[in-house]
Symmetry: C2
Subunit: 342 residues, 2 copies
Amino acid sequence: MPKSDSKRITLEDVAREARVSAQTVSRVVNNHPYVSADTRRRVQDAIRKLDYRPNRAARNLATQRSCMVGIISFGMTHYGPAQMVNHIERTARTQGYGVSLSTVSTFSFDDIRRAMDDLGDRSVDGVLFISPVTGADYDDFAHICGGVPFVLIDTQLGAQMPSVVIDQRYGSQLATRYLFDLGHRAISAISGPLDWFGAQARHQSWLDTLAAAGIEPGPALEGDWTASSGYRKTRDLIKSGATFTALVAGNDQMALGAIRALREAGRRVPEDVSVVGFDDIPEAAYFDPPLTTIRQDFAALGKQSVEYLMALIAQPDLPLHQRVLYPVFVARQSACKVGSDE
Amino acid sequence: MPKSDSKRITLEDVAREARVSAQTVSRVVNNHPYVSADTRRRVQDAIRKLDYRPNRAARNLATQRSCMVGIISFGMTHYGPAQMVNHIERTARTQGYGVSLSTVSTFSFDDIRRAMDDLGDRSVDGVLFISPVTGADYDDFAHICGGVPFVLIDTQLGAQMPSVVIDQRYGSQLATRYLFDLGHRAISAISGPLDWFGAQARHQSWLDTLAAAGIEPGPALEGDWTASSGYRKTRDLIKSGATFTALVAGNDQMALGAIRALREAGRRVPEDVSVVGFDDIPEAAYFDPPLTTIRQDFAALGKQSVEYLMALIAQPDLPLHQRVLYPVFVARQSACKVGSDE
DNA sequence: TTGAAATCTGCTAACGCTAACATAATAACA
DNA sequence: TGTTATTATGTTAGCGTTAGCAGATTTCAA
């Protein structure tokens, strides 16, 4: 079998085959009214017969739109971004939009600009940023997007940006207060990388919640979201002589690493140390012990950001705002009353 | 600040500003030789001044290429696909290619065809399938791709397809033989969904390896890759009265679920039951006990498939072949000698 | 019957870019 | 000094599609 048909079939070819004008074929392809049933059928037959497929580039050029949204994301090694990309793609698809992906590996604005250029300026109708950059405001984004509507995901709460965020402060409050209510007063933390807004917000809220409760925050260290870092940092914490009866991990993976480090140091979880994570990854319920955590609805985050972006594309003058989603507390067995020995 | 500049800047605008022809601007943009240093600088200044960005659609139309590769994948809820998409994007980017994503949720060929249509025929220069479909041969794929080169990832070993695969049979052999060598003779399995080639291959090889060793395979059940299914199926296995001293799980997540189910049934891991997983996800080393598993190099899989696809794009008549990668065995603590009680 | 509205189809001109050729200026060689 | 390469720029003609207008035909009401 030949692997390429050498000649691409165009509207013109179909038109000749169906004995109509190219314009009429275009009408059929685009479901315009004002095409007689008979003609429509003839054209459709010709399309099928010749295996015609419209040329996107030509259509994009003529219509000035691409029906593509771009995603600029921090890789997909992390659970959250991968989940979001997944749901964004699905949602966009149902709205007739395709998805073009570009990942960045640093937080530098230059890198993001490069990603945007790679995305092919003007080749996307809108852009979604899954990129918790620091030190950039609306105008910065607007400039690199060059007039293309954009929505930021999981960025600074309260920022004057078109964005969809999860209220991380609230989530962290939930976690910390839960531990407090269980009687814990020596609460340490392994945060995510603090140049991520999410990590930063969770950490700050942890500090604030403790302050509000009138207790000193325990020693805290910064991880990088991986189980490995959770393990290493917790070991460091223990080695440094820190005493704590509860630990808030920046995400579930780090919580897993932390639990292992605690075990190795002879501390039982949750009897000696209670551990709380963030995200509620599908595996969290099967950790040992099943992890108490703060669930983030990444699916909703992805879905809503696409919907918002679509609205912005359809109506660029829409007033910008921030949509806020709230995480929910999931109690399992990795945290218990301080001093419990059941 | 205005959010859109209403008028898009074209080559013509830049040409006027720099007092050269549009063609010369095009030459500068595309780094053609034969542009004097002086002119080049003048054009670049004009580009910067006007914040000109080339129109992809127009370029695609004129050059007949898009510098985009499509990925058709089974979502990214699973670790493997997400990893691959990640590395594919990175590799493609370094070669000057962008990535367009389309996911499918069923194995039906129609669904894949739809995904391909969504990808925008002719709007990608090549396609990567992360889609272990059953019952489709080269011609089927060639047809829906309509002359666009494609590479299949993680498909049937030995199939006459342009593809990059991991030798799952070998990996499964490694796992099973390891358990056998530890003295296990009652070995059960929780496989992945058997309509996935990978799962099927691992499962079949498990059967074959046991047969070769002259022992009966223990009872086996089919999961869906999730920890939850690993848990449920293992519980079913136990409830059904199956006795086994070792369990091969289709991936690490299911191994995690299995371990939890075993614990709840009062069986220790690995003293009573040894467990082996597949993939070596980053968390596996921090499971309790750290998981013995078969590492899949998804990064290499992604990278190689892109490289192969690029070669195919550059030279469509390249003889088709299958690249095979081999998994490696990673010994940790979830499996030990049968009857050990240390 | 007559005009007006509705329905159907075709023509022409973009959309913004690049390939290919044509031209002009400069350098290189015998 | 002419002949040929080399470098630098402009001109023309598409790439395959859709928008917008212009006819042509049919339907409907007065």
